[in-house]
C-alpha cells in the first residue's frame, strides 16, 4: 500500500488555487494579513485566463462622467443580472471597486489617462456611464502583471504547473488539504493548510465555440461539489455576442466589447443596423431609438441616449442569432461589426491595438478599413460555487471561493468589465475571510490517508490500464453535445437529450486511457480534467432544464420571457448521498429594502449622489 508519508508535503497557513486576478489578489491580501501563503496553478505564473481580458475593469470612479457613483453601478449590475444577483455582493462590489482599481495604480499598473491625468474610463454594454478603467485592449495583462509583481515581492510561494486533483477533509468535515501533481514530472504532492481559497475560473472548454482556454474545465466547481459545496446559478451561461467566426481555426476567439464601446456598430447582410429592432421594453427609455441620436451620443452629446449595440450581452447575442436565422447573416454565419468607418485608423490602432493585430494576423482583415465578422461564443459562467456574500466561505468549513468559479454577483447575466473588478473585490474579501476563519479555528487539520490514496489511485489508473478510450475524442464529443443541446437557445427535449448524451460519454470516460509515462503527459492531463468538466456541464444542463423561463443568459424556446415566480428563486446543485446530483430551488427571501430602493430608482434620483 502506498505510504502517504513518503509523498512530498507542502504546508501553508492558506493555499490559494488559481493565479488569475482573483487568486493573486486573495494571496496578496493573505500576505498583508501576515499569513504564510502559497498559490498553486496549472499554467505558468502570469498565463491564467485573466491575462486575456481585454476591455477593462468596471468601477464608478466618475473620472469621465462625474454623474456616476456606486449606486448607479449597483443598479446597472442588478438590472443586467435580471435581479437574480445576490444583493449584498452587488453592493460590496459597486462600493469597493474604485478603491481596488486605485490600489492597482499604487502597485504599478498604468491605465490609459483622461485629459486631466486621471484614470480614463470607457463605455461598455449595460453600464450607464463610461466606467471601465482600461489599458488599450489588454487590461487583463495589465492587471495580472501588476498583481504578479506585487505578489513576487510579498513573499508568496508560487507552485506553478501543478494541478490540484481533489480536496481532503478531516473527521469534522473541515477542509484539511488537497492532492495535486506536478505537470512536469507527474509526481504527486500533498498540500496541507488551515484554509483553502479556490480561484480556479470557469468551464467554457465544454463547448465547441468558446473564448476560453484549455484550463477552463470547471475544476474548482467540481472539486468543491465533491467536497459537499453547492453550485448555484449554473444555468446562466454568457454567450458573448462577438467572437470571431472566420476562419474556422479561430472560431470563438473573443472580439472585445470595447469595439462597440468605442463606437463600433453591428449590421446585417442588408447593411441594416439591426440592433434598433431588438431593444427590450425595460431598456427603451434609456436607449437611442434612431441612428441620428446614437450618432450624437458617439459625438459626446450627454443628453443623447446610448446606442442599442451597447445593450447587455444576452440581448445582443440573441439578436445576432435571430438575424442569421432570418437569412440576413454575414457570409460565414455571423453579423458585421464595423469600427473602420466610425473612427480614424490611428485612433483604432491606439485604443484597440490587439484587435487590430488579431484580425490582421489571424483573419487577414484590416479592421481600420473593413468590417469584422462576428458571432456568439461561450465566454463566461455566471454560476459557480455558492459562497457567503461577506466572507466568501462555502458551505464546507475552511473552503473559500472567489472570481469566476464563485457565484452570486452577476445573477442571470454579467455586465462586461464586472468580472475584473469582481476578482479584485472578492479576491481581497476571501483573503480577509480566510484570516478570520483561521483566527477562530486554530490548528492544522489532520489528513486522512485513505482519502489521499483514493485520489492517487484513480489518477494512476488512467495510465496503468492496458487500453481504453482516447480522452481528446471524448472531450470533442462532449463539446458537440453541449454546443447542440445546451447552447444559447434551449428546450426541454434538447436538454433532456443532452443530459443523456453527457451521461453516455461520462460512462465511456471511465475507461479513458493515457499512453506514455507520467512526465508532462498532455493526454493524461486531458483525461484528468475531463472528469471535472463532466460535473460542471451536467450541473449547467440540469439547472437549465429546471428553470422554465427565459432570463439573462438562459433562453428557453419553450418558455419565453421572464416569469415572476422564477424571479424569486436561485437554483442550486449539490451531490446527494448516493453520488447523484440534486438540483433544487432556493428561495431568495425578502428583498433588502434599502438596496431594492436604489435598484428600482430612476437615474435622476441617483445621479451625483455618492455616499
Amino acid at each position: 500500500m502506498l505510504d502517504v508519508n513518503e509523498i512530498q508535503t507542502i504546508t501553508h497557513d492558506v493555499i490559494v488555487v488559481g493565479a488569475g486576478g482573483a487568486g493573486l489578489r486573495a494571496a496578496v491580501e493573505c500576505s498583508r494579513q501576515g499569513l504564510d501563503i502559497g498559490v498553486v496553478c496549472k499554467s505558468l505564473l502570469g498565463k491564467a485566463h485573466t491575462v486575456m481580458a481585454e476591455g477593462g475593469a468596471a468601477a464608478a470612479l466618475g473620472n469621465v462622467d462625474s454623474r456616476d457613483n456606486w449606486k448607479i453601478h449597483f443598479r446597472d449590475t442588478m438590472r443586467g443580472g435580471k435581479f437574480l444577483n445576490q444583493w449584498r455582493m452587488a453592493e460590496l462590489h459597486a462600493k469597493q471597486s474604485p478603491d481596488r482599481i486605485r490600489e492597482l495604480e499604487e502597485w504599478g499598473a498604468v491605465f490609459d489617462r483622461t485629459k486631466d491625468g486621471l484614470i480614463a474610463q470607457r463605455n461598455f454594454g449595460g453600464h450607464r456611464y463610461p466606467r471601465l478603467a482600461h489599458t488599450g485592449d489588454r487590461t487583463g495583462l495589465e492587471l495580472i502583471r501588476t498583481l504578479q509583481d506585487k505578489g513576487v515581492h510579498s513573499g508568496i510561494s508560487v507552485h506553478q504547473e501543478c494541478t490540484v486533483l481533489d480536496l481532503l477533509k478531516d473527521e469534522n468535515g473541515r477542509i484539511s488539504g488537497m492532492v495535486g501533481y506536478w505537470r512536469e514530472t507527474g509526481r504527486f504532492v500533498l498540500y496541507r493548510a488551515k484554509a483553502i481559497i479556490f480561484a480556479t475560473g470557469g468551464g467554457g472548454k465544454g463547448w465547441r465555440i468558446t473564448s476560453n482556454s484549455w484550463e477552463y474545465t470547471g475544476d474548482g466547481q467540481a472539486m468543491a461539489y465533491r467536497a459537499g459545496a453547492e453550485l448555484m446559478d449554473m444555468e446562466f451561461c454568457q454567450f458573448h455576442p462577438t467572437g470571431m467566426v472566420w476562419p474556422p481555426s479561430v472560431r470563438g476567439i473573443l472580439v472585445t466589447e470595447g469595439v462597440r464601446g468605442e463606437g463600433g456598430i453591428l449590421t446585417n447582410s442588408e447593411g441594416d443596423r439591426f440592433m434598433f429592432k431588438y431593444t427590450p421594453e425595460k431598456f427603451q427609455s434609456e436607449t437611442a431609438d434612431t441612428v441620428e441620436e446614437a450618432n450624437r451620443w458617439l459625438a459626446g452629446d450627454k443628453n443623447a441616449r446610448r446606442p442599442p449595440e451597447l445593450l447587455t450581452r444576452d440581448v445582443v447575442a440573441r439578436s445576432i442569432v435571430q438575424e442569421v436565422k432570418a437569412g440576413r447573416g454575414s457570409p460565414h454565419g455571423g453579423a458585421f461589426l464595423d469600427i473602420g468607418s466610425r473612427r480614424p485608423a490611428d485612433y483604432i490602432k491606439k485604443k484597440l491595438p490587439s484587435m487590430y493585430h488579431q484580425f490582421k494576423e489571424l483573419a487577414e482583415v484590416d479592421i481600420t478599413k473593413d468590417p469584422m465578422e462576428v458571432g456568439p461564443t461561450f465566454h463566461y459562467m455566471m454560476g459557480g460555487i455558492r459562497v457567503d456574500a461577506d466572507t466568501q466561505m462555502t458551505r464546507v468549513d475552511g473552503l473559500f471561493a472567489c472570481g469566476e468559479c464563485a457565484a452570486g454577483l452577476h445573477g442571470a447575466n454579467r455586465l462586461g468589465g464586472n468580472s475584473l473588478s469582481d476578482l479584485l473585490v472578492f479576491g481581497r474579501l476571501a483573503g480577509v475571510g480566510a484570516k478570520e476563519f483561521i483566527d477562530a479555528n486554530e490548528g492544522l487539520p489532520e489528513i486522512n490517508h485513505d482519502q489521499v490514496r483514493g485520489i492517487i489511485r484513480s489518477a494512476t489508473d488512467i495510465l496503468n490500464r492496458e487500453e481504453g478510450e482516447n480522452p481528446y475524442l471524448i472531450h470533442e464529443a462532449l463539446r458537440d453535445v453541449n454546443q447542440d443541446f445546451v447552447g444559447i437557445y434551449r428546450t426541454k427535449e434538447g436538454l433532456t437529450e443532452g443530459i443523456a448524451k453527457q451521461a453516455e460519454l461520462k460512462e465511456k470516460a471511465k475507461t479513458v486511457k493515457a499512453y506514455g509515462t507520467s512526465q508532462y503527459n498532455a493526454g493524461w492531463h486531458e483525461a484528468l480534467d475531463l472528469g471535472n468538466l463532466f460535473i460542471t456541464c451536467e450541473a449547467i444542463a440540469r439547472a437549465a432544464l429546471l428553470r422554465e423561463e427565459s432570463r439573462g443568459g438562459h433562453s428557453r424556446v419553450d418558455f419565453e420571457g421572464e416569469r415572476e415566480e422564477w424571479g424569486l428563486v436561485n437554483i442550486v446543485c449539490r451531490m446527494g448521498d448516493d453520488g447523484n446530483m440534486i438540483v433544487e430551488k432556493l428561495e431568495r427571501g425578502e428583498d433588502p429594502e434599502h438596496l431594492a430602493k436604489v435598484a428600482h430608482a430612476t437615474l435622476e434620483e441617483l445621479e451625483g449622489s455618492n455616499g
Binding site: R113, T135, S213, S249, V250, I253, Y515, Y520, N521
Partner: protein, 247 residues
C-alpha cells in the same frame, strides 16, 4: 482541407529526435492547431504549452523552421503548400519534454528587480499622469513574457552569461520602471552593476523576434545605457551617443 506533414521534436533531457506527423489541415490554421491535431490523433502524450491561442499569454513559444515564434500566431498559409514544417523547443532553455522548456530562470530574474515605489498621492487621493508621460512605459508593459527575446539574445544563448545579464525582457522591465512617472527608485547603479546592461551590444536580434513589436533595443536598452553613460562617464556622453545612435 489538405494533408500536411509536420516534424516535431520529441524527447526530454536524455535526448530525442524529430517525428513526422501527417494531418488534415483546415483553412486559416496556425502551427499550434496542427500540433494539436497531431496530439489528438497520433501522439496523445505530446507536451506543448498554450493558453489563449490569440497571442496574448506568451505560452506557446517555440522555434518554427529555426525561427523563434508563437505557435498560435504563425499561420500555415505563410509557408509553401509542400513545405515541411519543423518545430522544436526554444533552444536556450533546458528542455523538459517535447516542446516544453524550463523557463524558471526568467522568473528568478524578475524577483531581483526592486519593486515599483511610487511617490505619495495627490491631496485628493489620485495620481495625475498624462498620456504623453505614460506612453513610453506602456510600450514595455505590452510584454507577454513569451521569452522569445531571451531565447534569441546571443549573450544568453551562445555565451551563457546568465549570471551576469538579465536579458532583454528584464532590461525593458527595468526601463519601464525607470520611465514610470511615479517611480522614485534610482535604478541606474543596479542596472549597470547587477543587471549587466553592459553585456548588450545592441545587435537588435531581440527586437526582431518580439511578437508584441516592442522596440526593445532602441526604446528600452539604449536609453538605459545612455543614462548609465551620463552618470558614470559624463565626458564621453557625446561619443557614446554617436556610437549607440540613440535619441
Amino acid at each position: 482541407m489538405a494533408n500536411r506533414t509536420i516534424r516535431i521534436w520529441r524527447g526530454d533531457q536524455s535526448g530525442g529526435q524529430f517525428e513526422e506527423y501527417t494531418v488534415d489541415v483546415g483553412e486559416g490554421m496556425v502551427v499550434l492547431d496542427v500540433i494539436h491535431l497531431a496530439q489528438m490523433h497520433h501522439a496523445n502524450d505530446m507536451a506543448v504549452r498554450w493558453n489563449c491561442k490569440a497571442g496574448k499569454c506568451g505560452s506557446c513559444s517555440m522555434e518554427i523552421n529555426g525561427k523563434p515564434k508563437l505557435g498560435c500566431m504563425t499561420r500555415m498559409g505563410d509557408y509553401e503548400a509542400d513545405e515541411i514544417i519543423t518545430v522544436q523547443p526554444m533552444k536556450s532553455f533546458p528542455v523538459i519534454r517535447d516542446l516544453v522548456t524550463d523557463v524558471s530562470w526568467n522568473y528568478r530574474q524578475n524577483e531581483r528587480i526592486t519593486p515599483f515605489t511610487p511617490r505619495p498621492r495627490d491631496a485628493d487621493g489620485n495620481w495625475r499622469m498624462y498620456t504623453e508621460d505614460v506612453e513610453r512605459t506602456q510600450e514595455f508593459r505590452k510584454c507577454i513574457e513569451c521569452f522569445l527575446c531571451q531565447n534569441t539574445c546571443h549573450v544568453l544563448r551562445d555565451h551563457d552569461k546568465r549570471d551576469q545579464f538579465v536579458g532583454p525582457r528584464f532590461m525593458i522591465r527595468i526601463a519601464q520602471l525607470d520611465m514610470h512617472p511615479l517611480d522614485t527608485v534610482d535604478r541606474i547603479p543596479a542596472t549597470k552593476e547587477e543587471y549587466g546592461a553592459g553585456y548588450c551590444n545592441i545587435t537588435r536580434c531581440c527586437t526582431e523576434v518580439c511578437p508584441e513589436h516592442i522596440n526593445i533595443t532602441d526604446n528600452g536598452i539604449i536609453p538605459m545605457k545612455e543614462r548609465i553613460v551620463s552618470r558614470y562617464y559624463d565626458p564621453i556622453t557625446m561619443l557614446a551617443r554617436k556610437l549607440f545612435g540613440g535619441k
